[in-house]
Symmetry: D3
Subunit: 286 residues, 6 copies
């Protein structure tokens, strides 16, 4: 139960720490935690546990740990259920020991990270489970919360999903407006190839099977099948015959994802797992 999914390598601390630091600064403001500083004696020690109030897939403990460390490097943080693992309702995720005041000061920011990212991982994992009998992989999009892209991409991996491109610059996705600007899929792909070297993948978004044929003929790496019916998705798989990776996209839900996966597409992308995943309820109990 507490074994993490594979490939849950976290962001490097050089990238993670500034995000956590900013969140702490946002909460400390100028005067800091005036309540705890005035009421809780500096020497008072405590032991607290991060508890999952509901079952879910865990992500973001690494950010929570970073928050406690930045507030007080002497706090001891022991992970019990790591990022990428499944937690039952009531499970203890981690133990924090040390200054009671410091624990209280870091608590909210730590929980905000753990709750939000575990929410993303849990939503992802639900889709992943739903397509487990197929070869389809669940991938995220660029529809992420501003400022948290790297962490949300990590939470998607913790949930068993895979990462689509991280930004505008690490892969090409030629959409309808690009095609319209170029005049045709062919023009767009040719312009893209003329200015791109060998290490950038090219994906083309298509709305119809006719466009799909055009894109396949051009030998692009991936084709995004936008808002197609499952019938059309199945036809698309038949047409492609493995000549390109096929990615189904558009209003994928837990109800529809299995049927989409059954069409034989390689990837199914979901914006909702990052932009609309409800928080996983995690609390700090003393």
């Amino acid at each position: 139960m507490t074994t993490a999914l594979p490939f849950t390598h976290p962001p490097h601390m050089l990238l993670l720490e500034p995000v956590v630091r900013r969140a702490l600064e946002e909460d400390l403001g100028r005067a800091g935690d005036i309540t705890s500083e005035l009421i809780v004696p500096a020497a008072q020690q405590a032991k607290a546990k991060l508890i999952a109030r509901k079952a879910g897939t865990i992500a973001g403990l690494i950010a929570a740990q970073c928050a406690f460390r930045l507030i007080d490097p002497s706090l001891k943080f022991t992970v019990e259920i790591p990022d990428g693992a499944q937690a039952k309702a009531g499970a203890a995720l981690a133990t924090i020991e040390g200054s009671a005041r410091a624990i209280l000061t870091a608590e909210r920011v730590a929980l905000n990270f753990a709750g939000h990212l575990s929410g993303v991982a849990t939503a992802t994992h639900a889709l992943v489970e739903a397509v487990a009998e197929t070869k389809a992989r669940i991938v995220c999009t660029r529809k992420t919360t501003p400022g948290l892209r790297v962490l949300e991409k990590y939470a998607v991996r913790c949930g068993g999903g895979f990462n689509h491109r991280f930004g505008l610059d690490d892969a090409m996705l030629i959409k309808d407006n690009h095609i319209a600007a170029a005049g045709s899929i062919k023009n767009a792909v040719e312009r893209a190839r003329a200015g791109t070297a060998h290490m950038v993948k090219i994906e083309v978004e298509v709305d119809t099977l006719v466009q799909l044929e055009d894109a396949l003929a051009l030998g692009v790496d991936t084709i995004l099948l936008d808002n197609m019916t499952t019938d059309d998705l199945r036809r698309a798989v038949g047409l492609a015959k493995g000549r390109a990776m096929l990615e189904a996209s558009g209003n994928v839900t837990l109800q529809t994802v299995a049927a989409v996966a059954a069409t034989g597409v390689d990837y199914i992308s979901s914006g909702a797992i990052t932009h609309s995943a409800p928080n996983l309820d995690i609390a700090l109990d003393f």
Copy 2:
């Protein structure tokens, strides 16, 4: 329909712009929008509209506008349904005119802000509407998405809600762990008052009506009634007789909020409006 709710003063641009800039940098990465730069001619002009695909309360157009301006100061952004107003499904929220390439480069970040913040405003507004016949005000918490507190607090105002404290430093909230550390509510409040001047409000969290009596006797500004039944809330209102502001808290939902408000409490706080509000579906149509 397009009149904004009152009190939707946006964050000052000095505070907003760095958040938007970071989101753009996160999306541009190092190489920038390679797709648009290679395919869309630099001189090509376009006119696009931000469209609400579903009905909701709008928030975050100011951040979307900032994203377009930072990518290209010559883009013309015209608001049609401002932050704080209600939009029907299909309504045009704003028009953007200028370089097609620049519009495509800024699109996703602009939508990520507008969709997320309008989601927060819409969730808030639903609660506000549900208690409209009472004096109860809906307030947010510190359970916000890391890095976006100022913007989410603004979105709550756009939805007709009010803002609880912005951080650990601008008001005191004495919780169960503080009380335990001090030995009693009385001790905790006395320590707080001994070190605080005249411009900081003090709120005490209580679980029972007995604790409520203690807190009332101390003359604190606000009392947070944590996870009480509506019966107990009603009794609390009767006991308080206006001697302190009363805030009901704990698992407030759209289903339960009206009953909570009917007890006569002054404020009802919700973490879900910031940490679990689904995105409002907003798109950019050319």
Copy 3:
């Protein structure tokens, strides 16, 4: 003599360290401490003491310590007279042991913090002592040195004073220009209340006893009595009968403060303790 005053909780290191770092960068420039690097052997050890050349209330040793630590984490800094305590002329405040070169490099920045903040604490403490026989508390203002607000507010606490609001956002202070813009005190307060939730205190500035009556009738939290004679202050206290906190403001000096306090006001605010406090002369002796 060396017991610190209560409530001298320092700013969190996350807030303090960036301010000290910037001051060190400002002094190191690009080439660093060329004098010490060329002349003082890297291996040379030294022991130095921070000495108060004149008597005063100490504040800012925590910033001085941070400066030494940032220049060389292996330096040993031992506090002898902590922030918030009184030092006699000639007293040793702290001992620093380790690399002679590192001590020389950090010296000036450490002294600039300690001297300035102890100056603020000393000026504050003088006012606090002068009103010790009354219930009046000394509070600071927003008239602080740009960039040092959090540290100067801390120095005020070290001197036994209390902190007024930290900025424009954590409490409302309705001044003459706000009242003029609203048309009346009543309008201004109503606008303020309509857009503010339960955790923000409201203070109104009044120049006359007539205005005082208006403000009292509105039930605001605090009333700032601006530039009133002690006679009028005494009348104001009589009128208020405890219905609001009363804060006397305007050209308070060590000569006048006792008389102001004797009128029975609750708070006396002073800009001079932060913007015009002379440095306390502190030196580093080897």
Copy 4:
């Protein structure tokens, strides 16, 4: 009366703006100017004046102007008495026209800069005036307020003073501890010269006339005469015969500076003009 002193070139905007921006962020906090935003209508226009309540030498209007511009670029700021000029009590220094709300939001930060820096300029100018009949120049030190060195050095120039080195890196000042570490003045100077090229000046601090002879014999650029009596200063001038610049240092006050200057030294340095100058009282009148 309103002619600025020469050589008052301000810091470049690239260096000034970040300092002003930080001060504004410090004052705006998270929620911004909640008082003005709720009470003052957005469309209300106003005209305000920066008034010197007391006579003094002006510095820092450039920072005040920057504060108003950063809060609202459409505000019109017209300088009437520029940085470096003398103002009589009651004189209008500048006019600001535009949004009343924006003026109120920027007011305090603008005044904090103008008051502090004009205080530095005024204290400097008093010393400059006191030595006007001699060749002695007043110079500042590195005893500046953390974070404000560049601005305070500028204020010193506005007051007619000159700038000593800006940091540890742009000139060498060999002090007693350096000499002790090297074993002799000769050793110290030789080490300095061995590692320094032709564009760095070398100053040696001496306590006695014997040390002065040593330093003169080494041909250093400047010699700091530390805490000498005016008799010894006069002897030092006689000994030096122009072979090095002579700088008198140590507890220079308005009372003693003329006598120090009369000894014939070239420079007189003062830490008090930056670290202990009282604010010049400047206000914003509508």
Copy 5:
């Protein structure tokens, strides 16, 4: 002669400006351009030209222009030979008109960018010209000057070259140490694929033709042929039969590059074009 090469889309100003700003801050230090401020009257106007003292391919005018604009937004900068174009010795690249003082202040930083980046473009263009009769494309590496990767990658494009990956994160390059850690090329590639989605290309570095066969059998996107003789490169091309992109790497020089290209490889990578390109001599003439 002055037509720019295609695909020379510059980095977005959001990415470019912070790099230029840092360079200016590095040059201005604390006191700024003291020479020009004291000697050149503020009102003096001038017209200056950026001149290529030697022939070369131009890159970095966009950074030079940004430097002039940041120092003085009113300077007029007119490009005559744009980034990506060839300049003869003595050619005027751009004209700058406005404040003489501002031009002098920005001059060195502007030239440092233009000279360095044009050096990179010129070195790239020499290789590009040398292989113009083949299908081989010249690509850069991650051997760039710290802090300038985005700009040097742009300069490579200005020189007619193509960009390899921008960092560790936007494509996979499996090197000898990765293969050793995994035990075999097969293991390494399988691990890579198991954790990577559809939009990341995979390149494998091989030293021998035996390894090449392994890599080809795995269907990777690109194979880096490390330090092979031209004979082996030719054999590699024959073996690959277009199944993967082939990139030749290792000590490519202007003398050897044509022979390497003649083997039929698709890409030739060079570290020297970024890490060892001599400056193109560009000067500012008044």
Copy 6:
């Protein structure tokens, strides 16, 4: 062989670390080192060596060490040939032990610093060796790579050279355009002196012996002899008779530098040692 040259005091870590951190962030991008994270087991240990492939003067190991430390503080970095020492081809410069994955992640940035800065040191050292029999010192200029000035100045010292001014602010260099703006050398120097205190050196650039006489008569500290023939340089030395430091400048090469030095000038400045030094080939061997 492994003894460092004197005066190679490195930049303080407060100045160095941000530069290295930025370089790492530039390489890690958003997703980090995806190749090593997926392929190299987290627990795998390794021992690697930094090897100089070619002979040269070493500089920048301190930056390489910082890169390894920032990626993984537990890596053990042992210097064998320190900054400022000469390395033979094939020499091991340092050993790194610890996590194989961390070593691979930091490798490229570490090498980019070490290779570039050792290139600068090597080019400097070649000039220094060439003039070793004379009193002439080699100095660098402000023609440095943007963002790396402090490190390149350090590399020059590692190569046995000396540093000219670090920026526009720490010394005055009056060039032809300044002289033209002032009307004469005399005017320019007088303006400079009127606004400058005693700790800033003044250098004047001259093109002719007539100008040299003017500058000598004014008693400036240093005179830059621009692009003079060796005959004129010799005459200049004769004219100056030690009244000012003489600096020869302009197209100094390894071929010409000995002849320039033989004229008797005090300093010879070279831009090429910073802007055109080829990388020293340094590799990481496991």
